[in-house]
């Protein structure tokens, strides 16, 4: 059921990219506002609190772009669909070529239709490539900060450079949907 919902969301995101971008922005701004509030409650001045919130969030535009990109990717393995798309385009191209050969060369309408067919095919190819992005399950690195408990408590709510020094990369699922742990046990 949730897969169906994800597919419906994908179609919606594909048809209304600006609406999705607005929603993502609203969501991310909410986060920054919540962090700002927490910083103010922690004793910061409002301007300091906002700056610290933005810093701790990271690159807002990059995160927004990434979320929008994920929204526009298919919620299932696209390999078969991609293959079907290439086969369809190949068949259409073959049919167009056959049709072009059989058309009278001196006919203006014939040449015009051939051009239209080429443009439509090229457009279908570009749109198909964009929709069926192979980036969907690409390994995406995120960071989790393992901090010294005492120091983190001491610094809690304050902007710090601790995170940079202590950040460690953890990887999400790969193209086969396996976690790093599963990859380690791949021989089993």
């Amino acid at each position: 059921m949730s897969r169906i919902k994800a597919t419906v969301q994908f179609l919606h995101a594909w048809r209304h990219p600006y609406e999705i971008a607005r929603e993502v922005e609203t969501e991310l701004r909410f986060h920054v506002e919540m962090r700002t509030r927490a910083n103010i409650e922690g004793g910061m001045r409002p301007d300091q609190a906002q700056l610290a919130a933005r810093q701790s969030f990271g690159d807002f535009d990059r995160v927004k772009a990434k979320c929008c990109e994920i929204s526009r990717t298919l919620p299932f393995d696209s390999t078969l669909l991609k293959m079907a798309m290439y086969i369809t385009i190949a068949i259409l191209a073959g049919a167009a070529a056959l049709w072009a050969v059989n058309m009278p060369h001196h006919s203006f309408t014939g040449v015009l239709w051939q051009l239209v067919a080429i443009v439509v095919l090229a457009r279908a190819f570009v749109v198909g490539r964009r929709a069926i992005s192979t980036k969907q399950f690409a390994e995406d690195r995120a960071s989790v900060f393992v901090t010294d408990v005492e120091r983190f408590r001491k610094d809690k709510g304050l902007p710090s450079d601790v995170c940079e020094a202590h950040s460690v990369g953890i990887a999400a699922h790969d193209e086969q949907g396996r976690t790093p742990v599963e990859r380690m046990f791949k021989s089993e």
Partner: protein
């Protein structure tokens, strides 16, 4: 102030998000807070990274979202675990335990 690099954390952001959401529906900010809370403030998610993670999980059907009003009367997107997400969390936990067990075994070997 020690600047020593922490060791590689053999886990996944996805697993942590799933675990946080298994305790109830949350908005993105809440997920980060809950992870920090349940790890006794030892783990802190890089805040911006949380959202691509949540979107990815939603794409996979492990998490679903809906817009609602937060405690402070602001419009916020709340995430909750789906049945498939619960199953996935169990799998991830088992994998994690297997890895942790194997690592401990290796470390204790004389």
């Amino acid at each position: 102030m020690s600047k020593s690099k922490a060791g590689l954390l053999q886990g996944t952001l996805d697993m942590l998000i799933l675990k946080a959401l298994s305790l109830g529906a949350l908005h993105g900010y809440g997920v980060g807070q809950r992870i920090a809370q349940i790890s006794d403030d030892t783990l802190k998610i890089e805040e911006g990274s949380l959202y691509p993670g949540l979107y990815r999980l939603e794409r996979r059907g492990w998490v679903e979202s809906e817009w609602d009003v937060s405690d402070n009367n602001q419009r916020a997107k709340f995430y909750k675990l789906t049945r498939a997400g619960r199953k996935q969390l169990i799998i991830e936990e088992q994998n994690w335990e297997r890895l942790a067990g194997a690592t401990m075994k290796a470390l204790r070997a004389s």
